[in-house]
Every structure is written in C-alpha cells, then in structure tokens.
C-alpha cells in the first residue's frame, strides 16, 4: 500500500480521498433532505436543457483548460470511478431493500428521502458525481481519439448518454391516465404525480372494447382454508374427462355465455352472461356420482360451485384474459379524426403521445363499458435510445472479443 505513506488530501488522490468525497456527498444529501423539505427535484423544460448545456460546458472546459491540474486528473481516475460505482450501487441496494413510495410521512426514513431515493438529494449528488467522473474519463480518453479506444467509447459514452438524458428528461416525462367510454370523448386525465390535466390537446372516445379469454378452468379447493388442492389443470372444455385427486371429472356441457334461472344455467348471448359448465363427478373408490353446475358468475348472474364432500369444492375461476384491446376514435384540435386499435404491447402514437392499453372495468369483465388508457409523452426518449443502442453495440462487441479470446 504505497498511498498510505502520503498524507491525506495530498495529491494525487487515491481511494481514501475518493471514498471520503463520495460518502460526504451521500451524507450531505441525506442531512439536507432531512432538514429542508423538497417536494420535487426533477427539472423540466427549459431549465433542464440549460442545466445540461452548462454541465457539458464545465466538463469540456475543465478538461481542455485544466487537464494538468491534479483535481481534474483525479476526476477521471480509477479511484474516483470506483467510488462512484460503489456509492451508486449502495443507493440502488437501498432502493432494493426499502419499499419505495411509502407514504408514512412521519418516519425518519421518509424524511431523509430514503423511501423515494430517485427523488432525493443524495441520489442527485451521486448521479452528478457519477456523470462527472464518467464524463471526464470519456473526454480524457477521446482526445486525441485512438481507434483502440472505440469499444471503451461506445460502452462508456452509451451509459453516460442514458444516465444524462434520462435524468434531464425525468421532469418532462408525462404519463396521464384517462378512462374512456362510448358515450362522450374525454380530453382530460390525471398524471403520474396525481395532477389533473384539463386539456390533453386531443380527445378520445371508445368505439369498442374487446376481450378474448382463455377457456375457464376449474379448481378443487378446500372449503375451509380456500387452498387449491389440484395440480392438474381442469380445463372446462365440453367432453374433457380426467382424474383429479380422488375424483373422475367429466365436463358434460360448457356454455361460454349463459344465464341463470331457477337453479340452472342455459345458453344465451346476453350482456352480463357468465360462463357455466355442467359437470359429472365420480368418486374413484365409492363410485358415487354427483352432477351439477359450476360457474364463476358475473355482475349479473350468480356463480355456483359443486360440493364434492365435506370440505372439498369444485369451483370455476374467472376466465383469464388472453388479449384485450380498445378501438378508439381520436379527435385532434385541427379537426382530424383517427381510428386506432390499441392493446397491451401494441401502443399507438398520436400527436406526440404514445397511447397504452392499461385496464378495464374488472367487475363487468368482458362486458366492460370503459377502458383505461395511458398517454405517455417523453420528449427525451430518442436520446435514451441512442445510448441504449450504443450499449447494445458495445455488448455485442464485448461478446465478440470474449469469444475470440476463448478460441
């Protein structure tokens, strides 16, 4: 250990100084958070662009003008980099252990910003520290540019771009939840911070909401505890015959749409119809036979289960959704009208928004008359994508190198 011989704060700085500075930033952030009340630390347009601009200018100038200064040299040194990685990892670890967005306002943990770390001063300080050390090492190794540094550049600059643009873009990121219906167009919603947005610039009306469902399944459950007892799937398809636990189960009939009257179900396509199955159950040992209806029920019709013995029931679970989608009509202020179909994993783009299918009225299930959508605006997204693609290219290159070495 050679650096132990030099006294602390004497240049060149090593691990000791780097970790003191990094943990100093952490503690400073923690204390400031505790005493000063911050509601929102993200910066939005146009302050973020100026902040970003000056940040880059400062990094560039300190590299160009003060390249030889020990402090600037330290910023792009290994100890600085490693201290930044470790302290950033430490914050991520805290985020992984402490449930975030916990609203228990009085606790010390909350006041110190530990329940919303990404919106705390420690996070801001450490992120700036990370962006500075990473930025400085990129600048140092890029001027003059050497071809052998290309992999270094792609990987490090890619990560820097992701961190930089996502941090600056956080304030401009908008995520607005709206509930649309068939009766009238909706042009307002509530954003991720709970703020009411009165004018979205577009209005959306629901043409149709569609759910495709998987064939429902039945389960044998313990009537007292509610535990599911069967391992095998009991798919309620007409004609399906299988042995589960001590029971021989046969699906004699299955209606996807049924109504209930006078303790029987009959097939009818009607709003609020429920799936229902007529089941024959034979006890394997005693050969006693039971028949009866099982149904999960709907908001309109009751459900039904089959009592197998004192504590075992045969019940139908609500069908699982295979796909749900909304056909929507979008009106813009220019008077344009678009028809779009959106579903999970298939958002639509209109007027700078991406529109996502989020939810529906679960009580009414496939008869839902509303659809919950999310309108997302993220003007900095392209910056993040550039960073992501650089990192992917870097990872592919890394794989290629490691593969070459292996052979």
């Amino acid at each position: 250990m050679t650096y132990n011989k030099k006294s602390i704060w004497q240049y060149p700085w090593g691990y000791r100084e780097s970790f003191i500075i990094a943990s100093g930033l952490l503690i400073l952030g923690l204390v400031m958070n505790y005493f000063i009340k911050f509601s929102n630390l993200t910066i939005s347009w146009p302050i973020n662009i100026w902040f970003g601009f000056f940040f880059i200018i400062i990094l560039l100038f300190s590299q160009i003008l003060f390249k030889k200064k020990s402090f600037v040299k330290w910023l792009s040194s290994t100890p600085a980099a490693i201290s930044a990685i470790i302290t950033f990892s430490f914050l991520v670890l805290l985020m992984g252990l402490i449930p975030q967005k916990n609203e228990n306002v009085n606790s010390i943990i909350f006041k110190s910003g530990l329940t919303e770390i990404t919106n705390s001063l420690m996070y801001v300080f450490i992120l700036i520290y990370l962006l500075t050390t990473l930025g400085m090492v990129i600048l140092r190794r890029s001027f003059p540019f050497k071809n052998k540094n290309i992999a270094f550049f792609i990987n490090h600059f890619g990560l820097w771009v992701i961190l930089f643009t996502s941090a600056l873009g956080a304030g401009d990121f908008q995520r607005i939840k709206i509930t649309v219906n068939k009766i009238n167009p909706i042009y307002s919603g509530i954003n991720q911070k709970g703020i009411f947005i009165s004018d979205l610039g577009i209005a959306i009306q629901l043409n149709d909401f569609l759910i495709e469902e998987y064939t429902p399944k039945a389960y044998i459950i313990n009537g007292t505890t509610g535990d599911i007892l069967n391992q095998k799937n009991i798919i309620l398809e007409k004609g399906n015959k299988l042995k589960v636990l001590d029971w021989e189960i046969e699906v004699l009939d299955f209606y996807e749409y049924a109504a209930y009257n006078d303790s029987i179900y009959y097939a009818i396509y009607d709003i609020g119809a429920t799936p229902a199955a007529f089941i024959k159950v034979t006890q394997v040992n005693t050969k006693t036979i039971k028949t009866g209806w099982v149904s999960c029920g709907s908001f309109k019709y009751p459900g039904n289960y089959l009592l197998l013995n004192n504590n075992q029931l045969l019940v139908m679970a609500e069908p699982e959704a295979k796909k749900y989608s909304s056909d929507i009509k979008i009106y813009t202020k220019k008077g344009e009208i678009f028809n779009k179909s959106i579903e999970v994993n298939k958002p639509a783009s209109v007027n700078g928004y991406k529109i996502y299918q989020i939810d529906y009225d679960h009580k009414r299930g496939k008869w839902s008359e509303i659809s919950v959508l999310e309108l997302v605006k993220d003007p900095w997204l392209h910056g993040v994508y550039i960073g992501i693609f650089m990192l992917i290219a870097g990872a592919v290159y890394m794989f290629w190198i490691s593969n070459k070495k292996l052979n």
């Binding site: 990121f173 995520r175 459900g303």
Partner: protein
Amino acid sequence: MNLISFKIVAYITILLWLTGCFFLLFNHKIKNGNQIGKIITFSGILFIIAFVVFLWINLERPPLRTIGETRLWYSVLLPLIGFFIFTKWNYKWLLYYSISIAIIFLIINLANPQNFDKNLMPALQSIWFVPHVIAYMIAYALLGVCMAIAIWGLYLHKFKSFKYELLNKADNLVLMGFSFLTIGLLLGALWAKIAWGHYWSWDPKETWALLTWLNFIFYLHFRFYHKQKIVIPLWTLIVGFILLMFCWIGINYLPVSKNSIHTYSFILIFTYLNSIKTKEKP
C-alpha cells in the same frame, strides 16, 4: 403436456448425467472412460434440450413464464456451458459443478410440481419475451460458472498455489456473461417502453438487476486496474452470483416485491367466494 412426462424426462436426464460423470470420474479404471463419459453426459444434455423443444411446441407458447420453467432452462444451459468449457480447457470439476447444480434444479422442479399452463398473459405476448429471458438465462449460466471458478480460486489461494491463469479465464467468462446480461437488461428496457410505457420504472426486479449489473461493472474495472489482486475480484464474482440469484428467485420473498409489476403468476378470482388466490409463485 402433463407432469408425468416431465418426471420421466428429469429422471432419465439425471441418470444419464450421473452415469456420464461416473465414467469421467473413473476413467483411469475404465477403458475409453473419458470418451464414453463425454458421450453419455452430452446425450443427457441433448435429451433435456429435446424436452424443452417438445414443451415449447406443446404449450404453444415459450416455456419461460414461471420460475420453474426458467429453472428448467438453467438446467439445460449450465451443463451445456460446463460441457463446452470442459472440452475447451479440460476443467473436469467445472462440468461436475454445472451438472450438480442442474440436477439440484431439476430436483427442485420435481419437488414443486407445477402444471404447465398453456395460458400466457397479454403483457408477455411480445416478440421481446424470448430474447429478453434467454439472454438473461445464458448470462446467469455463464456467471454461475464464474462463481464456481471463484470458489475454486479462493480454495487454491488459501490452501494451494493460485495461478493468475484462472482469473484470466474468469475475466473471459465474465466478459461473455456480462455482454448477455447487458443485452438482457437493455432488451428488457426497450420492451418495457412498449408494454408499460416507460423503459425504466425502478421496479424491484429492475433495481436488483441493475445492482447485479453494477457488481460486474465493478469487477471489470477492478480487474482492469488491479491485475495483481486476487481475493477482491474472486469475492466480487461470488457476490455477483448471490445478487443474480436474488434478482431471479429471492426477490419474491422481500417486502419490496409486493408492488412489483414484474411478477407473472395468474391471479385466480373466485368472485362469489370473495376469494383471490395466486396460482403459482413466478
């Protein structure tokens, strides 16, 4: 698809692997022991690969949804990588290690029988699903091998003589594993933008995945600048493996995972019983 066939496949695979390893272990006493051992072990790997393909076709969806299914993939990929490294560098112990872990994982799956369900929730119906999860499984397998090297290295360092060649080989595998880890993470981010509206939500799974990723970033940087250090990089590999196991399986037991959007168990709703059940731990 039912449970019985998985049971049979698992037993046959385990039997093939154990027999193969037996031949490799006693190759000095058996004529052509090495060759026979290799062939039998590899046929075990091929057999379970065939089962995964069969499962995929039968389920009509990628068998990657539940933790049990990803464990099955791990039991395929780890021996595959172990076998490859064994033929390359002649590290027999690494093959034994990867086979043992794979057998443990198969036994865990046998002990927790699950019904292979054909249903796939809308959020998972995406072209990103397969590349994202497979990139992760490959990374996990490669980094799992690195942990074995780390333990072996610590043992050598403490009781025998340590050769830097071992760390160089670990570097190589970390580089490969880390490239898959990065690709898995970023494909996940691109997919999240399309499925959830944002590329990064600080979901518990994402947080722990980032932590795992940072751990290996630390490893690569530390190795780059401190080539002579032995204990710290070896321990980093072990910590990295613990983190990734935690991210993959352990996270479900944390209070933070309650509000995770990254869990894919079916929620069973029995409306008229006023009861809601989670069908399987993802």
